[in-house]
């Protein structure tokens, strides 16, 4: 049975319905990434977004079956409470990892490195967007794979 490590959540999903869809598709587990805390991901997403809103929503969704629904917090390092939210997501809310998209910051940005150190202290995995970034602005230059050598 496969595991899908890259599924976006909008913050409105019902965990049991996700599980039923997984059963139908023959998926063993999925990594569910919370909505971005700093901008509307899709038009139906509420414009008022904050870390706690998106992390709490994802934690509720994955509570239906934390074995099969693996929650990743979307951490945006340019927000002032990024490090604190890593603790909140991986500690208090017991999420399993972190997703990051280099959106107008390079992966070796000091603010990003502070996040990596926090994630490292929790010994959790990170998933980065890399390659062409399909957002309506000039963003792909931040996402080249060699930039991620910083993870060494």
């Amino acid at each position: 049975m496969p595991i899908d490590v890259h599924v976006h959540a909008k913050g409105i999903e019902d965990g049991n319905r996700v599980l039923r869809a997984m059963d139908r598709a023959g998926l063993e587990r999925i990594v569910l990434m919370c909505a971005p805390p700093h901008f509307p991901f899709e038009s139906e997403t509420p414009a008022t977004i904050g870390y706690r809103t998106v992390i709490d929503a994802l934690a509720r969704t994955v509570a239906a079956d934390p074995q099969r629904l693996i929650g990743f917090a979307w951490i945006e390092p340019t927000l002032s409470d990024a490090e604190e939210m890593v603790d909140y997501a991986l500690g208090e809310k017991e999420l399993s990892g972190v997703k990051m998209i280099p959106y107008h910051w390079y992966p070796d940005d000091e603010r990003a490195q502070a996040v990596y150190r926090k994630v490292s202290s929790h010994a959790k995995p990170i998933l980065f967007h890399s390659g062409i970034l399909w957002m309506g602005t000039n963003t792909s230059k931040y996402c080249r794979p060699a930039e991620f050598e910083i993870m060494m």
Binding site: G131, I132, W134, G136, T137, N138, T139, S140, K141, R144
Partner: protein
């Protein structure tokens, strides 16, 4: 008939001789670049360092402005860059702008002033992209993803020259992003790939196959990178080679017509 969108001038050519060479090889129109304005100290201190090259190219194309399409070469690090765009379009009747990122990134503040001007005039641009031969450590500035900055200048149709070799995949991916930005409407897709050589043949065949499969045949334009516009043999050399490559890629005559003619007319705003 074909349109060659990538021809350099030296400032010494005669327009009638170019037209004669074009007739010999069946070239309908050519895009002629002005000579690059000097970046040396005397150019930096001069009041209008672009003026001489713009005057030269305007004079060259005046013999037949339908067939000889003059592009200004704008160097954004020179003080008169934005004014030179005005001068090129308003006073000299030039058609578009060519730029080479030579120790500046395409999102450099000085470039943005140039793009704003070109955007006002709704004119086409052609950027060197990919490995840059001949001038110091410069290729790092010419990667295709940097040209996503053009997302913010919605009235500019721009071409990435040399299919950005060796970053051809990145070039096509950037074009895919512009296709999405234009809502997948053919008329709103404003990024073009100038297939002007640079890529050795083995890469070019491979890249064209992938590019055509991913993007279709409407965004590619033909260029030669010719430096001898008065010589028919020089105009013909890459034309023959690229026709052969595209035949090898299985292109239909309709696709050939688009790549060698009609796509260029659309990019230039002539169709």
């Amino acid at each position: 008939m074909a349109i060659d969108v990538h021809i350099h001038t030296r400032g010494t050519e005669d327009g009638n001789r170019i037209l004669k060479a074009m007739d010999e090889v069946g070239m309908e129109r050519v895009v002629l670049f002005a000579v690059p304005p000097r970046r040396a100290e005397d150019a930096r201190s001069a009041k209008n360092p672009h003026k001489k090259s713009l005057d030269q190219i305007a004079k060259l194309v005046e013999v037949d402005r339908e067939r000889l399409i003059g592009f200004a070469w704008i160097e954004p690090t020179l003080a008169d860059a934005a004014e030179a765009v005005d001068y090129a379009f308003s006073e000299k009747g030039l058609f578009g702008v060519k730029m080479i990122p030579n120790h500046w990134y395409p999102s450099d503040q000085r470039c943005l002033a140039v793009y704003e001007k070109v955007n006002e005039y709704e004119k086409p641009m052609l950027f060197h992209t990919g490995i840059l031969w001949g001038v110091s450590d410069t290729s790092q500035y010419c990667r295709p993803a940097f040209f996503e900055i053009m997302l913010h200048y919605p009235k500019i149709r721009f071409a990435m020259a040399h299919m950005s070799w060796p970053w051809t995949d990145e070039c096509f991916a950037v074009c895919g992003k512009f296709r999405a930005a234009g809502g997948y409407k053919p008329e709103s897709w404003r990024s073009y790939v100038d297939i002007t050589s640079g890529a050795p043949r083995i890469w070019k065949v491979d890249a064209m196959r992938k590019g055509l499969a991913y993007m279709g045949d409407r965004q590619f334009v033909y260029g030669s990178d010719c430096f001898e516009a008065e010589r028919a043999e020089a105009l013909r050399r890459n034309l023959d080679m690229d026709r052969e490559i595209l035949r090898e890629c299985g292109c239909s005559s309709e696709t050939m017509e688009r790549i060698f003619t009609t796509n260029a007319l659309r990019w230039l705003g002539l169709a």
